[in-house]
Assembly symmetry: C2
């Protein structure tokens, strides 16, 4: 359905945009004085300021930040945020956490998506730097970031989130993936589970490797040498669903399924909906309906990841120097039926 809004005006002739020069002219002052008034600098007579403001209003003057930022140091008040995908809440909640803190410091967010593609990540990151963002946040997919070294040396603070920086000495904020998965696996083992199907993201994904390592730690500790046969790969809801379905239909079906991220957990839940004798399910990443669905999760707060990243960048902008830091945020195990509700941005 498409229809015209009744009574809407014809496209008006386009007046051109008023500049500071126009305002100054109309107010009968120099361009510098107009600049003073409109950017809140002192030392202008009240009457003069009033005239300038009125001229600005009359002309509907809006300053040009491009020009302003260019002149004053070629650094804008924008910060760049590179994430994998805007439709994945994990990423956007990180951005939300960072944004909240940044805007208290007068900074704005420029978000670009890498589509989980290393080459595109590189391209959009460089574009952000061309805009002279004041700081850069990356939830990296690529593991090659040497191209950022010169930019970093030029003083742009960079913070890597969820996965550490590899070949650039930048600050990073990560979760304690390995420990979390080791301890959760130990719980499953303590409950008597031995056939634990692990569904991990693709090899090469740093968080997946860390989490699998935690699983290996726990399995080896109880003498399970062939732990690798329990490790399966999935990357999205669809593949996770198929893998889970196959696993349960096969011989030697697992008594527990451990999904290593929220997308995989969703697939597993899908596969098991209405199954007669469902295995225990454990998921890395908390999600809203976990309590309702009776699923144990390893919980953490993406918003907090973002907030910590912003803190780190603000620190650097504030002049803190020294070695890059890696901050490791703890996760929390929430067993099913615990009734515990972790704090969330929305609701609960």
């Amino acid at each position: 359905m498409t229809f015209d809004v009744p009574g809407a005006p014809e496209a008006a002739p386009r007046p051109s945009r008023a500049t500071l020069r126009d305002v100054a002219h109309l107010a009968g002052v120099s361009i510098k004085t107009a600049s003073r008034v409109l950017s809140g600098q002192p030392n202008v007579r009240d009457e003069t300021a009033r005239r300038v403001r009125e001229a600005a209003r009359t002309l509907r003057f809006r300053p040009n930040r491009l020009a302003r930022d260019l002149r004053s140091g070629a650094v804008s008040t924008a910060v760049g945020f590179v994430i994998g995908d805007l439709s994945n809440p994990f990423y956007t909640q990180i951005a939300a956490g960072a944004e909240r803190l940044l805007r208290e410091h007068g900074l704005e967010l420029f978000i670009a998506t890498s589509d989980e593609d290393p080459e595109r990540e590189r391209r959009v990151t460089l574009t952000m730097l061309e805009r002279r963002v004041r700081a850069l946040f990356v939830v990296p997919v690529a593991d090659e970031h040497a191209y950022l070294v010169p930019e970093q040396q030029l003083g742009t603070p960079m913070v890597f989130i969820d996965r550490p920086a590899v070949d650039v000495a930048a600050d990073s904020i990560v979760l304690d993936n390995r420990r979390a998965v080791r301890e959760a696996t130990e719980r499953l083992i303590a409950l008597g589970h031995r056939r634990i199907g692990l569904l991990a993201d693709r090899t090469g994904v740093w968080t997946a490797s860390e989490r699998v390592a935690g699983f290996a730690d726990a399995m080896r500790a109880v003498g399970t040498a062939d732990w690798q046969r329990w490790v399966h790969r999935a990357h999205d809801v669809g593949t996770a669903r198929s893998v889970a379905t196959e696993l349960l239909a096969g011989p030697d079906a697992p008594t527990a399924l451990f999904a290593l991220n929220n997308r995989i957990t969703a697939g597993v839940i899908d596969a098991l909906a209405g199954a007669p004798d469902p295995p225990a399910i454990l998921g890395f990443d908390d999600f809203e309906f976990a309590p309702t669905l009776g699923i144990s999760v390893i919980a953490h707060d993406p918003v907090d990841l973002g907030r910590r990243a912003a803190e780190t960048a603000l620190d650097r902008l504030g002049g803190r120097t020294g070695m890059p830091q890696q901050i490791v945020l703890p996760t929390r195990f929430i067993p099913r039926g615990s009734g515990e509700r972790p704090p969330r941005e929305h609701g609960s």
Copy 2:
């Protein structure tokens, strides 16, 4: 946990950033020739181009977009996107849909959040315009946008999403809220429900009013004059939970609950988890676990909302003039247990 990364270098002395002038100088050409090479213009001898590119590489030259955009029309390749909240997937999926299309046209996304606050919405919108964004997308909370009129007359395409523009004649993309809720209510009535508890967002929210109107249409059609007594208000998961709990405990408890957005649906689900004799639940907005939880939904695709908005803006940028349009996207009713899976960005 916080620790220093071992072996990280001391903060290096900051070299200053190379400009086009530096590159030209090193390559022994004029600044204009360097510009030609690096911005891909023709008419440069191969050998000259090679020298320039090498100089650029040596100096790690990165063009300054602020300067480029300022010179060439003072319009950047960024588009502005104002949403209520980065941690609400409904908004970010809209942004995802728009971004995908826009980037095919070489445009980048600048996202700002209004925090659902009209005054803040106004402020961030104006800041975007100061950055001379090429187009502006707004999922509005305010219902006063007259201040955008001059900007629009200056030729910045604006598209309102999910809620129409009120006092500025801009294009908009909305859902068929009223019809969708009327028809869904009719279904409930056909199933024999008469005591239908409606949980709507705050009065003043345009989508809420439309949806309530649809409910009224259906209730009046079957002679229910006192339909208003079934309308309750909630704004987030928490309030929706309390309202739902109260409703069910009260006398004359509803046999069906109709939640008018995804946040409210989540609250209702929460309230009903484990209830002995739960009412039917119907929710506006689709969500991933609706099939698993056995909930009927009014489905639509936020990604598509964003895509259509981007199409509209690109059209305007391409020179289409004429009256602003309001595009109404249809929704789909998905009954519980239908097994139907709507297409989603992630998974399924």
